[in-house]
């Protein structure tokens, strides 16, 4: 180790200064009041920050330059990260739904309604929500961690000084990629779910594929498909926005990367469920 230059010593010593006790006591006395006040402040400032972020993303989305290459790369990443998990889940959902509802339907002598019933519940609810929750876990956390670490290691700053708008390059591309890809992934999961359902119905080998599929499709109308697709677009946008927001506004220091990833998952899952709730209400009214 190098010797410390005497001229420099006074700076090295500084951190040993003791904090006065008075301050700690003062904080203890009024602990509760501070907590309540602070919680409200934190909540509203975070809310404000989120809307500002939303506004900026929106603004940059409609600016003239679009980072098409980065957008494609993000689309690929989203598919690449989630496809195996979504494939397995899709099949399993169909399988389980079928196996579980079959005895009940048999009791009423309505087994012939099985394909239609399962298809409707997959397309309306199970497919979109389960896929979106998986994406919230996988993509939300990925975006949170990736942008968070870019923020902490000054990569976002570096981008900004190289004539690149990081909102446009990093955020807009990711949000749009999620908005496009999640509906596609949901449709893919729906298809696999129906396939899995046929596999479940056909365990004894007595249900022809074509018959099953034609019965399933006969039960599905545009009024099932359209609202379902519409809400997945919102799921995608919400997951992308929340993941990017949490990463982009990560604090300083390495631990904030983990925090950004975790809170991105929690918040985007919550958003998915809330959007689903609203979507169900709206579809009901129509």
């Amino acid at each position: 180790m190098r010797k410390i230059n005497p001229a420099y010593k006074k700076y090295v010593k500084l951190p040993n200064v003791k904090l006065p006790n008075v301050k700690q006591k003062a904080i203890k006395l009024s602990d509760k009041t501070i907590e309540k006040k602070e919680l409200a402040t934190i909540f509203f400032s975070e809310l404000g920050e989120f809307f500002l972020f939303l506004f900026n993303t929106f603004k940059e989305t409609f600016s003239r330059e679009f980072e098409f290459k980065e957008f494609l790369r993000q689309c690929f990443q989203i598919g690449n990260r989630t496809l195996p998990l979504i494939s397995v889940t899709g099949v399993v959902i169909g399988l389980v739904l079928t196996i579980q509802s079959r005895p009940v339907l048999a009791e009423f002598g309505a087994v012939s309604m099985l394909p239609g019933m399962v298809a409707v519940s997959i397309i309306r609810e199970m497919g979109p929500v389960v896929t979106a929750l998986i994406c919230a876990g996988r993509i939300g956390s990925g975006m949170g961690a990736e942008l968070g670490s870019m923020k902490v290691t000054e990569q976002i700053d570096a981008m900004e000084v190289s004539s690149t708008n990081p909102m446009r390059f990093l955020v807009v591309t990711r949000v749009l990629a999620a908005t496009l890809m999640i509906p596609i992934l949901v449709l893919y999961a729906d298809a696999l779910g129906i396939l899995g359902s046929w596999a479940g119905a056909n365990i004894k080998g007595d249900v022809p594929f074509v018959l099953f599929i034609s019965q399933a499709f006969a039960a599905i109308g545009f009024d099932d498909l359209l609202p379902a697709v519409a809400k997945t677009i919102f799921f995608g946008a919400a997951i992308g926005l929340v993941g990017c927001y949490k990463g982009y506004t990560a604090g300083r220091g390495t631990e904030s990367v983990g925090k950004a990833a975790t809170s991105a998952v929690v918040l985007s899952s919550l958003f998915v469920i809330l959007i689903d709730l609203i979507a169900v209400q709206i579809t009901d009214m129509l």
């Binding site: 190098r2 230059n5 001229a7 420099y8 700076y11 090295v12 500084l14 990736e146 670490s149 870019m150 290691t153 000054e154 990569q155 700053d157 570096a158 981008m159 900004e160 000084v161 190289s162 004539s163 690149t164």
Partner: protein, 240 residues
């Protein structure tokens, strides 16, 4: 923080015009006063060393220069223009003339070394042909002695190599002013000497003026044409 201007004998200051001038700068984060009434000048062709212990606001200072942070008070003039009055377009043009070597290197870790180097080149010097880009990438990478790492990812490089690649990425767009944020921190003495050497070479070859930030007095001794010391944001000592 200490600020000091070093003008070596071999490299006389030809032109005593100052290209960067900071006047009574102040910046606070909440209740934390980071910079307080700090002034300094950078003359053309000069290496200015800014010394200060960790957390004294050195990074904040140079981030204010390129407006990654906005100061609360005071003015910063680069090439005679007030940084805080610049329009978006003006800011972009000003940033193009300034090279910023970040403390952490800030290499894009989803891109290869080559893509990292191309990134600023394609965006700042628009309209270069593929050939010109490749030639330029090769040139700067050779300058930092890393010709063979073209297709590696940043995660495959050592700390010293990463610093050099980020130095290459900074000089690739021919900046007039270089801002080095702790270029030798976290490196072993040998590597850190190599980086110091490289900084001198860059200065000689690309004729840049630089602000070098460090908390390492040894590193500061090697280069200064001038230096200045900064403690809790005040320039407390100045000498050549």
């Amino acid at each position: 923080m200490t600020v000091g201007n070093e003008t070596s004998g071999a490299d006389p200051v030809m032109d005593r015009e100052h290209i960067l001038e900071i006047d009574h700068l102040a910046k606070a984060f909440g209740s934390l006063d980071v910079l307080n009434n700090l002034s300094l000048k950078l003359y053309n062709g000069e290496n200015l060393v800014v010394l200060g212990k960790s957390g004294s606001g050195k990074s904040v200072l140079i981030k204010c220069i390129v407006r990654l942070l906005t100061p609360d008070q005071g003015t910063i003039k680069v090439f005679g223009e007030n940084v805080n009055d610049l329009t978006d377009k003006g800011l972009e043009e000003m940033r193009e003339k300034i090279g910023f070597l970040f403390q952490s290197g800030a290499l894009y870790d989803s891109m290869t070394v080559k893509e990292n180097l191309e990134f600023p080149l394609k965006r700042i010097k628009k309209g270069l042909s593929r050939k010109e880009i490749d030639a330029k990438v090769e040139e700067v990478l050779d300058n930092v002695g890393l010709g063979q790492t073209l297709n590696k990812m940043p995660s495959e490089l050592s700390g010293g190599m990463r610093k050099r690649v980020s130095l290459a990425r900074t000089i690739i767009v021919d900046p007039m002013i270089m801002l080095y944020d702790e270029p030798t921190t976290g490196l072993d003495p040998v590597t850190s000497d190599e980086i110091s050497e490289l900084i001198n070479e860059v200065k000689a070859k690309y004729k840049t003026s630089s602000i070098i930030i460090t908390h390492d007095i040894e590193c500061a001794k090697q280069r200064p044409t001038a230096s200045s010391c900064c403690k809790t944001g005040k320039s407390i000592w100045k000498g050549a």
